[in-house]
Symmetry: C2
Amino acid sequence: MTTDTNHQITLAARPRGAPKSSDFRLIETAIPAPGDGEVVVRSIYLSLDPYMRGRMNEAKSYAAPVGIGEVMEGGVVGQVIASKNHRFSQGDIVFGYLGWQEYALSNGKGLRKLDASQAPVSTALGILGMPGMTAYTGLSNIGRPKEGETLVVAAASGAVGSTVGQIGKIRGCRVVGIAGGAEKCDLVVRELGFDACVDHHDNAFAQNLKQACPDGIDIYWENVGGEVFEAVLPLFNFFARMPVCGLIAHYNATSLPEGPNRVPLLMRSVLTNRLHIQGFIVWDYASQQAEFETAMSGWIKDGKVKYREDFVDGLENAPEAFIGLLEGRNFGKLVIKTSADPTI
Amino acid sequence: MTTDTNHQITLAARPRGAPKSSDFRLIETAIPAPGDGEVVVRSIYLSLDPYMRGRMNEAKSYAAPVGIGEVMEGGVVGQVIASKNHRFSQGDIVFGYLGWQEYALSNGKGLRKLDASQAPVSTALGILGMPGMTAYTGLSNIGRPKEGETLVVAAASGAVGSTVGQIGKIRGCRVVGIAGGAEKCDLVVRELGFDACVDHHDNAFAQNLKQACPDGIDIYWENVGGEVFEAVLPLFNFFARMPVCGLIAHYNATSLPEGPNRVPLLMRSVLTNRLHIQGFIVWDYASQQAEFETAMSGWIKDGKVKYREDFVDGLENAPEAFIGLLEGRNFGKLVIKTSADPTI
């Protein structure tokens, strides 16, 4: 897709259950021209993240839904190709929420220049971007890990979970991941240095998780919900903390699960164990951006935090890759190479 | 029961569901004599509190269960009638966890002298004791009320709830109580100064609660669970807090409620609203005892906090009164007058 036209992916229909290809539409439009104060950015990398599933729904949430016919929302690393904004020059590499499209018009608001000499610019979508900061702030502010505690991380091979676990190791925790499939679990332990990783596809998952947490669970990083959470619930220690970052097992659900209603079980644990459960969004901690960047850059330089990027070529493949993300097909940060020459 | 013998109420059987009279046993024993370092206390007032239901079960909790044949646990205000402990003299009025009995032997541990000139000594079981401190510490540390916020209090006519709401008013909140029956609701508004109180026996309860909270709910004080909580759940504002103090609607349950499983609904609200849910026990904040006593005594003196005591005569009536407590029959702090002359 290297023509003179712009390509965009819009929301064609609100999914009922799992998104299908037909819920997205690939359209051609003109490449925009900047007006006064505006810039045009050519996308290089597009971030795909689970939160986008929520934007496809109409339900009330912390952010407005994407409208039918509107370009899908998403973080982008790109290059300024035309500028009538004094803050940006042609050639600048920038990050912004520019959406699922090859060329985007921006008034500069929320656009941030990147320094390609500091780190590969794709990391602005992952370890040094929103997912990394989600891991850092949620764990620091809600998880509050203490040396010797057991931290269990759901979706341990994902962009956020893999980072949470590694920060947990730096903080001196025993870190147990949960991931889908033996291969992912193996990588989580060998590559990322988790102490253990339990496969939630295994029939003996709950039992295996219990065995991997002989001292119970002090912090549970919730990314998933559903049966993963049910296996965690009986293992909480007194004063355990549970940052709720995501619930990917629920996002495609069209109805509530069968009974019984297990809310009383959950609340009993909250009361008797004095659980602290707290949902959060990375922007709640926007003031900690600089602190995060300093810490994370240092850890990466020192080899204490590793990251994986899962690149998929071509904007046209974004819908299929996103559907796979919700099914747990990727390992690490899922990034679309929107440009044919993403060499920067 | 003013004989030379001691009367005790022991746990005869672990209740299945709601406790019955036959789960308790009234027995006669000898009045104990103090050994070295010990005191004998004659009970004046015995506190009855919902947490005692948990002690009757064998399940793991934050405190050990009462054993079959053991004296039921409970807070007592009494008078030292014999002392071989240098810290206590005959005649001292004391508070301690001395159980459901007329005379108790104590080694002095956990026994605290009361000053009858400061406040009626029965208040050491209520507004100036465990229930008052539960309200104060849970609201300060977890609820963190801010002026103009809406605070909803379950079990608003109970010892804890009535105090939570009045502290909420002092902190500048709009305070909405939930109680069982029109009469209780009326008293909660007229006597305790809540802005509104909604009757959870009313068929239109959920709708009435919504109307009473036009700006949503910022803090929900959880004492109840069950259908009361279900009505609260859709009304939470962003960053709402929910101190979980009790779950009285669940205590007598012998099975989970029918489905569907509503945990995903709860967790969705946690995530999108960034709820903070936290269980606690008053002893978690033991270090705040002096702060609590200073604040609460001041408020009572200034008429800013009112309290009600619901006295029942005679230790032998404690089981029936306790069964009624779990059914919501009392208003205010339920206290057994164990002594025939509780005039101190």
